[in-house]
């Protein structure tokens, strides 16, 4: 008998035996682990910060937060979080706990990041636990062929290379511990300094990326999703992609597991051709990754319009970003609601233990508006049976008011402007209602085009007009034609792709990687996302999408009726436009940046966060954009990118995150780096100038994107290319040659050849002097040859 006993680096015990005789019997190939498994056959050396606790990377955060100082814009000058309060924090006053407005503002930033991380992490935990239940703890994780560095974020942060669901679960243990600590810091009388609240927000953002990566890795591995596939299938999207002849099931949310049971049940019982399943928000992406025949109805802002259209025979909700009044809205159009997630039971009765046919009967008869079910198998059966029975019944029921009815009701408008005042985008709702008095529904249809679907206008209307339904009716001719093609989520970026583009990205010859992520809280519709992506893809940036933004970009078609996904390849390469998948697939974007450091620069990833973040910040021209950022999840996703040193741009509604991270290009002392080759302190240009920035409009987004792609490490050729784009976009949208170009010129060779005369003139005017091009680092210990030292 061979017995091995090992204490892992985490000092947890593991016993392996090829044969073990016990009082219970004789066992072969026994492996017992006390604690969690740690990979001890991985030869990459462990870095300095495996599984960092809340303050282990604090000094890195402080470096970033000193350069990119938070600029707070409090939404409230009071604190009402404890019974000491309310406390007035105006004019330098402190609350009863001692916190001032700066600290309180930072505390709110941390609270948002905690909430966002918790949503992803709970999703991830459910996914992993469920898959362990279904497939067993040793089920192997994979991101597909061409990916050897699987789970790069997890490797970087935890030092663990998760190969099985069991190991993924151990990673989540770490994440949950960290979240508990960062959440506790928000409690009254804990953290007191803005910079440490901010550092903790960065920490939980980093943890969030790990949680997202594990969630997507688990579902990709177990559910047959595309695995790092640049040619993931094109799938049909839009409201009109749903077939009204079939029983329609609408799945809303982010957790695909319940929907897979619905699709499986329909297939197994031979009724798949009788139903059509479509999704809203990230569940849409993941049902399409599970089965390319599933439909993508649209982004989060479309949930109310689709429910109001009355097409859905059953509405299934899982978790995150669901309208919390969905039951009320669905009830109006006689669509039963099935709640499937413990996070969002929606006040519905738990009928998990009841007979399926009894549940279906109660739903179909209208006796109950919906049910909460905890059993996935039962969810599949109930949903399919209910949808098929509801379909013929609901066909006879009208859902939207007629045009004549709208005209009649509109006559009583009080012209109080409350609908406009409630609209986040100040849309002319009242003017549209007044036009409807004359039978002209055109203005209501125009409001629909830019509507984010919040229905605050309805809540505010003293006449209780169902204004959103009016808009949907007015625009009926438009959305009934709404069909477009999108590319299913491909998952991670292949190592082989990184090998091709790593060098040109780091040298700046591929001028940047743009990541469009997040929600659909757009200031004026979603066209800006498409036009931005198209322009930067033309300029040979790599443009990556995820989440709702990935749907919106597909809605715009060219003259031939093709979407951007049909026009551009899905590889991770210059000029491509790719979709990694749902919200949790955001982790693959961070993963790609991390893998550049590993594959191109041969840096160790394992537990080596600070060095890799420093590398990315100084070398990889990545820019995150969330034009319609809405949620706390978007906040935590952004926080994860901040800690990696990647700048994030949000649309104007992003100001409501109430804090920017702004650099000061005019302060030379803020832009000092160590030259890793010489150990010298060297001043570099302000690149990236900001770490978190809300743009006012599309035009500013265009210019800011090009500017934030600049990095200290750009080669002369790379810098020249990046400056060409910045100058061209600045001249186009701002109308003049930018005045700061001389600050980005280090040597003559940085100057774009066609712009030499103008730039030389600016250099002369500003008494330009040649500057060194360092091997830049913010971390002194990373200076080669022992010339570095402590901070």
């Amino acid at each position: 008998m061979k017995v091995e006993f090992a204490l892992t680096e985490q000092k947890r015990a593991r016993l392996k035996a090829d044969k073990l005789d016990t009082g219970f019997g004789s066992f072969r190939n026994v492996e017992v682990t006390i604690g969690k498994v740690v990979d001890d056959d991985w030869d990459e050396p462990m870095g300095p910060t495996p599984m960092p606790d809340v303050t282990m990377l604090r000094s890195w955060d402080h470096k970033l937060l000193t350069r990119y100082r938070p600029a707070y814009m409090p939404a409230c000058q009071l604190c009402c979080l404890c019974t000491f309060g309310k406390c007035d924090l105006t004019s330098g006053k402190r609350g009863a706990c001692g916190l001032d407005i700066e600290g309180q503002s930072a505390r709110i930033v941390l609270a948002a990041a905690n909430i966002g991380c918790a949503a992803h992490l709970a999703h991830s935990r459910h996914m992993v636990d469920h898959m362990i239940h279904e497939f067993g703890p040793r089920f192997e994780l994979t991101q597909g062929d061409g990916v050897e560095i699987e789970a790069p974020v997890t490797r970087l942060v935890t030092g663990i290379r998760p190969r099985t669901l069991e190991e993924a679960s151990a990673v989540l243990d770490y994440c949950e511990t960290q979240l508990t600590h960062t959440l506790s810091a928000v409690h009254t009388g804990q953290e007191g300094s803005w910079i440490d609240f901010e550092s903790k927000a960065f920490h939980v953002g980093m943890v969030d990326q790990v949680g997202m990566e594990i969630a997507d890795l688990a579902q990709i591995s177990t559910l047959g999703f595309p695995q790092s596939d640049p040619e993931a299938p094109l799938v049909e999207a839009g409201i009109s992609s749903m077939d009204p002849k079939k029983a329609m099931i609408l799945a809303i949310g982010h957790n695909v597991v319940p929907a897979t049971y619905i699709m499986d049940y329909a297939s197994e019982t031979g009724v798949a051709d009788k139903i059509d399943i479509g999704g809203i928000c990230c569940t849409a992406w993941d049902i399409a990754r599970y089965d390319a025949k599933a439909k993508i109805v649209g982004p989060i802002s479309w949930q109310l319009r689709f429910v109001r259209s009355g097409f859905a025979d059953v509405v299934v909700v899982d978790e995150q970003c669901i309208r919390t009044d969905i039951v009320e809205h669905a009830k109006k159009v006689h669509s039963p609601v099935i709640a499937t997630c413990d996070k969002s039971a929606m006040g519905l009765p738990d009928r998990t233990d009841d007979d399926v046919d009894d549940i279906v009967q109660d739903l179909v008869s209208g006796k109950i508006a919906g049910v909460y079910l905890r059993d996935h198998a039962k969810i599949g059966e109930v949903v399919v049976k209910t949808a098929i029975k509801m379909h013929p019944k609901r066909k006879k029921k009208g859902s939207l008011p007629s045009k004549a009815k709208i005209k009649e009701l509109a006559q009583a408008c009080r012209q109080c402007s409350e609908c406009i005042r409630a609209c986040p985008n100040n849309q002319p709702v009242m003017d549209a209602v007044l036009a409807a008095q004359e039978g002209n529904l055109g203005p209501l249809a125009d409001v629909y085009d830019e509507c984010i679907g919040c229905a605050r206008c309805e809540s505010a209307c003293p006449n209780d007009y169902e204004l959103h339904s009016w808009m949907v009716k007015a625009a009926e001719g438009r959305w009934k034609q709404e069909s477009f093609m999108v590319r299913s989520g491909r998952g991670a970026i292949k190592d082989t792709e990184i090998r091709t583009v790593g060098q040109p990205i780091v040298f700046g010859e591929i001028p940047g990687v743009i990541a469009h992520v997040g929600c659909a809280n757009y200031p004026d519709g979603g066209r800006a996302i498409h036009d931005h992506a198209e322009e930067f893809a033309k300029r040979r940036f790599i443009v990556v999408f995820s989440g709702c933004a990935a749907m919106t970009v597909g809605t715009i078609k060219d003259d031939e009726g093709k979407s951007i996904y049909e026009r551009r390849p899905g590889t991770f390469d210059a000029g491509s436009v790719l979709n990694v998948g749902s919200c949790v697939a955001n982790s693959h974007i961070a993963g790609a940046a991390i893998k550049i450091a590993s594959i191109f620069a041969k840096r160790n990833l394992r537990g080596n966060y600070e060095e890799i973040a420093d590398y990315i910040h100084n070398r990889v021209g990545a820019v995150g954009i969330s034009w319609g950022a809405m949620s706390q999840k978007a906040a935590s996703i952004a926080a994860g990118f901040w800690r990696l040193g990647v700048p994030v741009i949000v649309g104007p509604h992003g100001t409501k995150y109430r804090r920017m991270l702004l650099g000061r290009a005019d302060k030379a002392e803020d832009w000092m780096v160590w030259d890793a080759r010489t150990g010298d302190r060297v001043q570099v240009a302000a690149g990236p100038e900001h770490l978190f920035y809300a743009v006012e409009n599309f035009e500013e987004m265009m210019v800011m994107t090009a500017k934030l792609a600049i990095r200290p490490n750009d080669t002369a050729k790379g810098r020249s290319i990046k400056l060409s784009h910045y100058i061209d976009l600045h001249e186009t949208y701002m109308g003049y040659f930018p005045e700061d170009i001389h600050t980005y010129i280090r040597r003559e060779t940085d100057i774009p050849i066609t712009l030499k005369a103008k730039i030389h003139a600016q250099m002369k005017e500003n008494k330009w002097k040649e500057k060194p091009i360092p091997d830049p680092t913010l971390v002194r210990r990373l200076v080669y040859g022992g010339k570095g030292g402590g901070e």
Binding site: Q77, T90, G735
Partner: protein
């Protein structure tokens, strides 16, 4: 004249609240008293008009009359440049909000630090937050909003005005108190 209450109903603020401008002479007096006033103009100025005049033309006249430099945010700068106006400086809305929290910062040599900032042309919620930053972190600066809608985080703001009343108010504040500076 409507009431001095937030235009977007939910945008209520804390214990301090902007004083409603009932007489436009208040704006003139604030400009006269200020050492280094600054006008911050956002992109809604590109589409908004007062009577038949574009807001860009209006602010060029306003700036020239009162000798106040302009910060034009986003692509607003393009419109000023195209009209040959050279007292406009380009900053993003968030950048200028950040810079004004630096008590030493000035838009140009000998033109600051600023003690009065007037704003126009931003989405309501965005201006609301920009002004919140200034009221909390730039106590040395008084702020005046020149838009139609009441902004509670300003020091002074028009109450929610009907378009005609707002047009009249804008016309009145073009005339300097006690002559041009």
């Amino acid at each position: 004249m409507m009431r001095a209450e937030p235009w977007q109903s939910a945008e209520v603020c804390g214990p301090t609240k902007a004083q409603g401008i009932k007489k436009t002479a208040v704006v003139g007096a604030l400009i006269k008293k200020a050492k280094y006033p600054l006008l911050v103009v956002g992109a809604q100025a590109l589409t908004e008009k007062t009577r038949k005049k574009s807001m860009i033309d209006y602010f060029i006249e306003f700036s020239t009359t009162h000798n106040i430099p302009i910060v034009a945010t986003a692509n607003t700068i393009k419109a000023f440049k195209e009209k040959g106006f050279d007292n406009a400086y380009s900053y993003g809305a968030m950048e200028i909000t950040g810079r004004l929290q630096d008590h030493e910062w000035k838009v140009a040599p000998k033109k600051g630090p600023h003690d009065l900032v007037m704003t126009f042309g931003f989405p309501y919620y965005m201006e609301w937050l920009m002004l919140s930053a200034l009221i909390n972190f730039s106590p040395h600066i008084k702020t005046v909003t020149l838009g139609r809608y009441y902004q509670p985080h300003a020091t002074w703001s028009f109450p929610n005005l009907k378009k005609q009343n707002w047009n009249d108010a804008l016309k009145e504040i073009l005339t300097p108190v006690g002559g041009a500076k």
